[in-house]
Amino acid sequence: MTSAVSFARVSRHFGSVRAVDAVDLDIVPGEFFAMLGPSGSGKTTCLRLIAGFEQPTAGSIAIFGERAEGVPPYRRNVNTVFQDYALFPHLNVLDNVAYGLMVKGVGKPERQKAAEEALSLVRLPGYGARRPGQLSGGQRQRVALARALVNQPKVLLLDEPLGALDLKLRENMQEELKSLQKALGITFVFVTHDQGEALSMADRVAVFNDGKIMQIGTPEDIYQRPKTRFVADFVGSSNVLPPDFVQRYSGQHRWGSLRPESIRVGSAASGDGVAARLVSTNYLGATTRLALDAGGLRLHAIVPAGTALPEQGEAVVLTFNREHLHLMDEPA
């Protein structure tokens, strides 16, 4: 099966800055694919390479098997939902949504009908006559989505689409985007710096750092089995354990990672385990996050709310299941 989007050793350099550096990537048709990384990691440049706003310095890009280098954005069957939505202020909502069809020469009644349908799809029926300036942030976001979807793109690109929304709205939109993607079967490529968003929405996640892909995998892969220290740390703040420490428990001299919720905190009298001291506690509602100092190694543990907590500065013993200790590929 041909990939929806395929990158082969793609680089994009701006002067001496390697925004994207020899990236290989295959996005499966119909999947919800997230590009996750801190700002400046190259994820947005990758998105712009797919959209056609950037051209690769080296390597080749194919969209559904067709070479994309040199093809301008307006000849690609790919549409983008922009971070700032980029709605046209001089057009009403209906004309905004119908814009793509209008420039393709679709007749007025036909394109207005299609635009109405797209607006119903994003649950904004009857909003056609309003101006973008009269809508709330969440509504503008839906209009931007409808404007992209009305063109029936093969790939929909979303550039931090939920970044400007407040928490409650963001959670609603996450679910809505997810079900919309399932219903339409369009390939979604989603850029975000929010690991929670990437893990909860995507079928697969690519973690970016310094213009390179650190790891591609299912959310579970990325979360449970990080390959590098960066992934372990960035995706859900796992404990990164140095090779000497890992060797004592697994017999292998490699970097390891241990999820904070896998650590059990017991009193100093409870027996074997890693001796540590409690540095601070951080109440998070359903859980409490503990910062611990194990002979100079800083560790975090997450315990359910209501657990009896030791005093600050008190000596404790940490225990964990050996199988929860994950060994990373990164060389020691």
Partner: protein, 271 residues
């Protein structure tokens, strides 16, 4: 919103405002009155009697028509040139980052800051050096130098307020460069261009200093008026011309004012 709307301004302020308005507009009214005077050799107050004969006299003077037509043509062509160059220049400066951008921006604005007499002398020596005879086009060239600035300033301010990703969004939705310009860029800057164009036209229409250096023997309307003032006969003809020009230019200026005011509201609330 104003909270003290019902309260009226103090009397002193009202008088000061009235004086200010009179100071601004009384001379213009005087010009109107003198258009109807029967005294043709000098302006005497009060006018000895009123007449409308000067309108007919003006209508039948070919030199008035020549000067008026030259001025209109020069202003129209200068404005057209300024619209094209000013828009292109402002698009380049506001859309992209490049080395020397600020310098170019300053160089574009400089002609309006320079005294007209410097621009005039510079152009005259340049024409003499290049052996270019004075013509319609030398006047247009001189006027275009400051008309470009006016259009540029208006357009650059509007570009700055429009979201840059709008152009990318248009391309993304399948519009090529021309369609994007026609359907997205132009509607967003149209009112700014109209206002800039109106102002450029008005500046060109009453320009004297640069024109004296670049016109040779040709007479634009303001230069014709200057010459007319030294002539002893039929003085009110100048006033008639001035009055008609004021009335005719007032309408487009009011129109431009209302159009840009609406445009500001749309652009301001959209992002």
């Amino acid at each position: 919103m104003r909270s003290d709307r019902s309260q009226s301004a103090p009397l002193g302020l009202k008088i000061a405002a009235a004086c200010g308005l009179l100071f601004l507009h009384l001379p213009i009214l005087l010009i109107f009155v003198y258009a109807f005077t029967t005294e043709e050799k000098s302006f005497v107050w009060p006018p000895p009697a009123l007449t409308t004969q000067w309108f007919a006299v003006t209508w039948n003077r070919p030199d008035v028509w020549q000067a008026l037509s030259l001025s209109v043509r020069v202003a129209a062509i200068s404005t057209a040139i300024a619209l094209v160059l000013g828009t292109l220049c402002s698009a380049a400066v506001s859309r992209t980052q490049f080395f020397g951008r600020e310098t170019i921006s300053l160089l574009v604005i400089l002609p309006i800051a320079l005294p007209g007499i410097i621009t005039g002398i510079a152009l005259r020596s340049a024409f003499a050096l290049a052996d270019i005879p004075f013509s319609f086009w030398t006047i247009v060239l001189g006027h275009a130098t400051f008309c470009v600035v006016v259009v540029y300033n208006n357009a650059v301010a509007r570009f700055r307020r429009t979201s840059g990703s709008m152009i990318e969004a248009s391309m993304d939705l399948g519009a090529d460069g021309f369609q994007t310009f026609r359907h997205v860029v132009l509607p967003n800057i149209a009112t700014a261009l109209l206002a800039g164009g109106m102002l450029a036209f008005a500046l060109s229409f009453d320009e004297v200093i640069v024109t004296t250096f670049t016109a040779g023997q040709q007479q634009t309307l303001p230069i014709w008026m200057l010459e007319e003032l030294i002539r002893p006969r039929q003085r009110p003809v100048t006033n008639v011309v001035a009055m008609v020009v004021v009335l005719v230019t007032l309408l487009p200026i009011l129109l431009a004012y209302y159009l840009t005011r609406d445009g500001d509201q749309i652009a301001g609330s959209s992002k």
